[in-house]
């Protein structure tokens, strides 16, 4: 069993530590608030000789992901980290990394997108990347950010997956707050992630291969997209297996959706990231008053755990989906759209309401969670569910 050490540090330092322990061959990154301390700390590890990584200082995130794509095609284990506008600048390479089936692992410090300029937490950046073909893991805490990073490497490089993985943590709330966490010894992490054996590395000059090819005029582009769909769907099994193996090793739970009080909940909040803690705190208080409140946290957003989510929500009388991102012009936030769709095949028809909250780092106070549960209690008791979405906590 691994030796574990209890530390008090930030989510970003833990991501950098996990990355060092997973020992990427190449990191190409550009600093951006609130991701900066990940790449800063990692650069320090390189300078100290504590990791063998070739650290590429690039002039933009567009170049960062381009360098990652090249290095990964060459056969390297590759990592990077970004946030917000940086992720947005990577947009075309995100699709290329996924389409080329390159197992790049990237941390994202979830932050709002301009305009207006805002450096604080929401999920606008990552939700904009949700259709790029990346596997997406979300951390609630610094501990989960550490665990997810290690798990991501194994998932990405798995021979049945070979897809890039984004491991997301909430900007400032998780990236910069000092939290209690446990880290594993280097040898156990190294043994868990194993060595990466690329299939067609460009640097294998004895077996030349060509990457990033043209699919031809009227060629099989459609067939390659089907390969990607098959791969990301099939990755759910691998995500669960690798997560379970890591849970066994670390003693910390991992599941694609993680419930609290969901066994007998009448009302439930579905949420992603750090706000799950706020919701759980209020649910616990409500439980003490006899209200059967539950929280369902989505830890893996891609592939979307629709079956698992529907199973966990069966029997609930009213559901609130909390979105920390807008999908402007759509019927609701990105999580809401997926959750409501996942529930469509259930025989029972459960009222589902959508709250947009915390945009641009707007405070997620406990009374907001109390209000959501109060609305849900009314709906469960027969009140008409409000049509459309609700902005939670705006003036």
């Amino acid at each position: 069993m691994p030796t574990q050490k209890t530390v008090a540090t930030t989510g970003n330092f833990l991501v950098a530590e996990a990355m060092r322990q997973c020992a990427p061959d190449v990191m190409a990154a550009y600093p951006i608030t609130p991701q900066t301390t990940i790449v800063e700390e990692f650069a320090k590890f390189v300078a100290q000789g504590r990791v063998h990584t070739e650290y590429v200082t690039v002039e933009s995130e567009h170049s960062a992901m381009s360098a990652c794509v090249g290095a990964s095609a060459a056969g390297a284990r590759v990592m990077t980290a970004t946030s917000s506008q940086g992720l947005a600048l990577m947009w075309e390479e995100l699709y290329i990394a996924a389409g080329m089936r390159l197992p790049i692992v990237m941390a994202n410090a979830n932050r709002a997108l301009s305009a207006p300029i805002n450096i604080h937490c929401d999920h606008s950046d990552v939700m904009g990347a949700r259709d790029a073909g990346w596997i997406m893991l979300f951390a609630e805490t610094a501990q989960e950010a550490y665990d997810n990073t290690i798990i991501s490497v194994r998932i990405a490089e798995h021979s049945e997956v070979l897809l890039p993985v984004m491991t997301c943590l909430d900007g400032f709330i998780t990236t910069h707050s000092i939290d209690r966490a446990e880290t594993m010894d280097d040898e156990s992490v190294a043994a868990f992630v194993g060595e990466y054996h690329p299939t067609y590395p460009l640097l294998d000059t004895a077996n030349p291969a060509s990457h990033g090819n043209f699919s031809g005029l009227g060629g099989p582009y459609f067939e390659f997209k089907k390969q990607q769909r098959v791969a990301i769907d099939a990755s759910m099994k691998v995500v669960k297996e690798v997560g379970a193996e890591f849970a066994g090793l670390s003693g910390r739970p991992f599941d694609v959706v993680e419930g609290w009080g969901m066994e007998d909940a009448d009302i439930a909040i579905v949420v992603i990231g750090s706000t799950a803690g706020n919701a759980r705190h209020v649910a616990r208080q409500l439980r003490a008053q006899g209200v059967k409140a539950g929280v369902l946290k989505v830890r893996v957003f891609r592939p979307f755990p629709a079956t698992e989510l529907a199973a966990a929500l069966r029997g609930v009388k009213a559901i609130a989906v909390l979105d920390r991102a807008e999908s402007l012009g759509a019927e609701g936030g990105p999580l809401f759209l997926e959750v409501r769709s996942a529930l469509y095949d259930l025989e029972e028809r459960i009222p589902v309401v959508n709250y947009i909250y915390g945009l641009g780092g707007s405070d997620v106070r406990l009374e907001l969670m109390e209000r959501v549960y109060s609305d849900l209690s009314d709906i469960a008791a027969g009140a008409t569910a409000p049509f459309g979405l609700t902005y939670l906590g705006t003036r």
Partner: protein, 112 residues
Amino acid sequence: MKWDISHVNEWKSEDFPRAAVIPESGNSNDYNVGGWRSERPYRNDEVCTQCLLCWIFCPDTAVVLDGEKVVDFDYDHCKGCGICANECPTNPKFGKSAIEMVPEGCELPGVK
């Protein structure tokens, strides 16, 4: 590895190599790209000094040699870029160079 693509038109999604990787080198030779050409190089054999600059500068493999002599162009791979005609030096004896670009579909100079 030898990659047999003779039945590529019957392949299903799962038959293609992952992510359009081509697991073999040199097979662009099997792919006809001559259809892009709007002008073709024409070489006057009488004027040609056999300096082979066209063969050196051709970005594809479209200048065909027989031994150390240019004999033809491979029009399945010549994209009509004109680099060969640009590099072809003037033969002082004739006061012109051997390669010129002519529009596709026209009658070749000196050819009836």
